[in-house]
Amino acid sequence: MLVIKGLKARVEDKQILNGIDLTINPGEVHAIMGPNGSGKSTLAHVLSGRPGYEITGGSVTLDGKDLLALSPEDRARAGVFLAFQYPVEIPGVNNTYFLKAALNAVRKSKGEEELDAMDFLELVKAKLKPLKMDESMLQRAVNEGFSGGEKKKNEILQMAVLEPKLGILDETDSGLDIDALKVVADGVNALRGKNRSFLVVTHYQRLLDYIVPDQVHVLAGGKIIKTGGKELALELEEKGYGWLTGEKVNA
């Protein structure tokens, strides 16, 4: 489904990605791990089309379509969803209104009928339950005044509503206590299915206890230096990244 070949990218003069090769098949969950500065978040950003990165080589296709040629919104409409490490606040914009606008933009691009307020409310309420989110969150402004945990849950709620093909989780575990982590992981697991894939970017193995990946990739120096099964994450937890990169890294 997602095929990344020889992907290189830089920010200003700094080369961050040095040739990433990665294939994710439908239904698979891949974890990207690696030390600070290895390019994990950059990969997530480049895939979603965040401005500020220059692609210097390689290709990315989603179902055969050239992803890099698309605007960020067209990537989103094609089914790429990025759960932000730092979800952005939009003061004064009602959470429900925002979600409805997003869903309808996606539906419209697919030639589907837009949902009216009543139908949407029904849909979003059903999606709230498994996330143990209070309905009052729908009436608040997007992420404004949300706690760290609430923000991350809100990201998962958005993902549940938008039903992407590829969910990219960018350090979703950062800043979460164990209870919130479980809720978020449960939310993600509930969305797993044969036609939906995930790319889970994380620094720690902890998240992968709850979202069990099919494959684990270790990123260092802008390249994937090792790929393995879920047990690789445990090995990393034990030995640190220095074991692979040949240097001492403080995780």
């Binding site: 965040r50 919104e73 989103a76 914009v93 691009s109 938008l162």
Partner: protein, 481 residues
């Protein structure tokens, strides 16, 4: 995050042409350009005015001659040649009913998206439309008349209710108040008049659509609105103007009087031609708006959405005379390209337990300059007065400016005055966040800006709020690339 935003897309200048730029071709019966006592006599004669009004105009003119253009505002423009302005132009035949209105005029209203009759019927709004300088049709007058509500053109009021005009005209904004108010007092041609009798709650929103037409014609409206004891009225004012090469002068005066227990809600959507992307053309909008809360427990609330004009100079104010009276000012001011706005309010607390609220949202894009200028004055007799002020500025791009100039004068130490201000830049990260959820860049900007203005839009009547949101998106179209 080390990511640097892409080459500032926010700088892309708008390519959106002024949507409402068209000129209606109507033969105007105009005065020659220039201003002197004879021109004033000509205007007064054309309008068959009583002597007291002519005398008042002449006094204002004499005063105006001695006055200077105010220069304290943060706006810059070449000096205006007041002898090059036409002070009177009117369509020749005065229509008596909507059926008699020139079809071209009606077409113009349609182009603006405000088909009078339809809008009036659908929205339950009585429209007293000022087209050029003469009013062209008043609807729902009969129904309002049955309740004793007077809602008509200013000229009509001069003939039919001279006693009210004589009593209230200039009682809130005296003819010598300021340069532009004096000019307006001398040469105003028409406007709206409204009187709500004691205890009457006006059952519909009253609205006036202003439109500037004939070339080089300054438009000088005069609005006078009186809410008698325990009366209530919600008044809407909205404007668009045709495209012009030369700057058009606009100096209106609005006076509101709220007697004991009365409430006036005055909402404005201002969308005059802002000039092209280089600042050429566009309206100079020098307006004096003031309301007097004369009676105890009266309330005046100004809500404005200012998106148009090359220059806006406007401070809708409240004089809180009556005890327990309340003044409110909710404002959204948008500048894009070369637009300049210096706007705000004055809250003058005279009575006991008076309360005022100021919420100002300034949006600057392109090379626009946006200034909030406000005065809160608590006079010695104003025991226990309260004021809350909030000024927020939103910047789009790095070539625009936002300025906040609050004046606070407290002469009674029981007062409570609070001021909050913020300035933020519309974030690339906010826009990207929206895009990542499937929204286009334009929709993202609209969403963010509308969120920013929400507190003010909430104060607008429903259909006006929808219109205001649309206007905002048109005004900012292309400001983010």
């Amino acid at each position: 995050m080390t990511a640097k935003p892409q080459e500032p897309s926010v700088e892309k200048v708008t390519t959106e042409e002024y949507k409402y730029g068209f000129v209606t071709d109507i033969e105007a019966d105009s005065a020659p350009p220039g201003l002197n006592e004879d021109i004033i006599r000509f205007i007064s004669h054309k309008k068959k005015e009583p002597k007291f009004l002519l005398d008042w105009r002449l006094k204002a003119y004499q005063q105006w001659l001695k006055m200077k253009t105010p220069e304290w505002a943060y706006v810059h423009y070449p000096p205006i040649d007041y002898q090059d302005v036409i002070y009177y132009s009117a369509p020749k035949a005065g229509p008596k009913s909507l059926a008699e209105v020139d079809p071209e005029v009606l077409k113009t209203f349609e182009k603006l998206g405000v088909p009078m009759e339809e809008r009036a019927m659908l929205a339950g709004v009585a429209v007293d439309a000022v087209f050029d300088s003469v009013s062209v049709g008043t609807t729902f007058k009969k129904k309002l008349g049955e309740m004793g509500v007077i809602f008509c053109s200013f000229s009509e009021a001069v003939h039919e209710h001279p006693e009210l005009i004589q009593q209230y005209l200039g009682s809130v904004v005296p003819y010598n108040d300021n340069f532009y108010a004096a000019l307006n007092s001398a040469v105003f041609t028409d406007g709206s008049f409204c009187y709500i009798p004691k205890g009457v709650r006006c059952p519909m929103e009253l609205s006036t659509y202003f439109r500037i037409n004939a070339a080089k014609t300054g438009q000088f409206e005069r609005t006078l609105l009186i809410a008698d004891e325990d009366a209530y009225v919600s008044y809407l004012e909205g404007c668009t103007a045709p495209m012009r090469d030369e700057n058009q002068l606009h100096a209106a005066v609005v006076e509101l009087v709220a007697l004991k227990g009365a409430e006036i809600k005055y909402s404005t959507v201002q969308n005059w031609y802002p000039g092209d992307k280089d600042g050429k053309g566009g309206i100079y909008n020098f307006v004096t708006k003031r309301g007097a809360c004369r009676g105890d427990s009266s309330k005046i609330s100004w809500t404005q959405v200012e998106t148009g004009s090359a220059i806006t100079w406007k401070y809708p104010s409240c004089i809180l005379q009556g005890d327990n009276s309340v003044g409110e000012f909710y404002s959204v001011a948008v500048v894009n390209n070369m637009q300049q706005a210096d706007t705000g309010t004055k809250m003058i607390h005279l009575g006991k337990n008076t309360k005022s609220t100021i919420v100002s949202k300034g949006i600057s894009a392109g090379k626009g300059q946006n200034t909030y200028r406000g005065l809160v004055r608590i006079q010695p007799a104003a025991e226990n007065a309260h004021n809350y002020t909030q000024c927020d500025s939103l910047l789009m791009g790095d070539k625009c400016g936002a300025h906040t100039v609050p004046y606070i004068e407290v002469k009674n130490n029981t007062a409570k005055v609070g001021h909050e201000a913020s300035t933020s830049k519309i974030g690339e990260d906010q826009i990207f966040y929206c895009q990542q959820r499937g929204l286009s860049k334009e929709d993202a900007v609209n969403l963010i800006v509308n969120g920013f203005c929400k507190e003010v839009f909430r104060k607008l009547p429903m259909e006006f709020a929808v219109e205001a949101q649309k206007l905002l998106s048109v005004s900012l179209e292309g400001s983010v690339g």
